[in-house]
Amino acid sequence: MAQMPALIPKEVEIQRLKKIWLIVIAMGSVAASVEVDNFVDGSLHQTSIRDSAFTPAHWWLYTHFVALPLGWGSAAIYDRKVPVLRGPNNSMNTGLKMTILGYLATMFTIGVNEMWHFWFVEEIFAVPNHWMFNMGVVVAFIGALAYVVRVYARLVELGAETPGENPYVAEMYKMALEGKLYSRSIP
């Protein structure tokens, strides 16, 4: 990755990266909450096969799958203020793009899921309408990891964070700073 010149003062960039960090921590908590609801919803469906869209386990799941793309979308809006986080051709950061697309997939799957269950009442984990929930989350997690490491590595580069002492982790930060963590050609 071509190293971008410092377009904003260092102190400004650190403050902006930390504001992004706040959103990231909040979204991480929401994602952890969704994981808990996987078990809550799953255990409910083992006893009552299919109830309705309007049960607390579904409110919990669905509100989070709306909150996640919106929350990461707000990160994308603010992300524009940090030049070093730009993606290819001055577009959105690739990791952030993947995160938003992944969670958008889960959000649209809410509708797909409800249409499916309008006709078929079974609630087996592996039915096709659930696939995009799981694939969306996996894509989002991969993207979020790339983005989070990029933000953290930049904070390390700016001297606002201490790099990892584990040599393997330190190597990962180094690769992220060089733009080689998830691609050798896409910044």
Partner: protein
């Protein structure tokens, strides 16, 4: 340094006032809003789980609701702790007392709710 439109006083480069203007509210001064957000999230969590065991007791026993409430409170508390500590690191600000007090209060509230609220 070239600054964005609206900053700088014309040819003299950036001043500390310009930098402060670009930063806006500093993250180490956001402990108040982070704390309010955490407490609001915790209350919303109580509301959500209570809706489960008050309106759907056939599907969501009170014990299950309390279990979810406790787990989510722990997740939110870790997030709150991370937010405040990361925002204040590298500065002279220290809100350990506020964090300890708020999390202790939430812990006591969680225990009391788990003991006395439900069906």
């Amino acid at each position: 340094m070239t600054l964005p439109k609206g900053f700088g006083s014309g040819g003299s480069g950036s001043s500390s006032a310009d930098v402060e203007k670009m930063i806006g509210k500093r993250v180490e001064n956001m402990t108040g809003i982070i704390t309010i957000s955490y407490i609001a999230a915790w209350l919303a969590t109580f509301g959500g789980t209570a809706a489960g065991y008050f309106y759907y007791p056939w599907a969501y026993p009170t014990n299950s609701g309390h279990y979810a409430f406790i787990i989510l409170t722990i997740i939110e508390s870790i997030g709150y702790l991370f937010c405040v500590k990361v925002m204040e690191e590298g500065t002279k600000k220290n809100s350990n007392g506020i964090i300890a007090g708020v999390i202790a209060g939430v812990a006591v509230g969680t225990i009391l709710i788990s003991l006395f609220v439900g069906t």
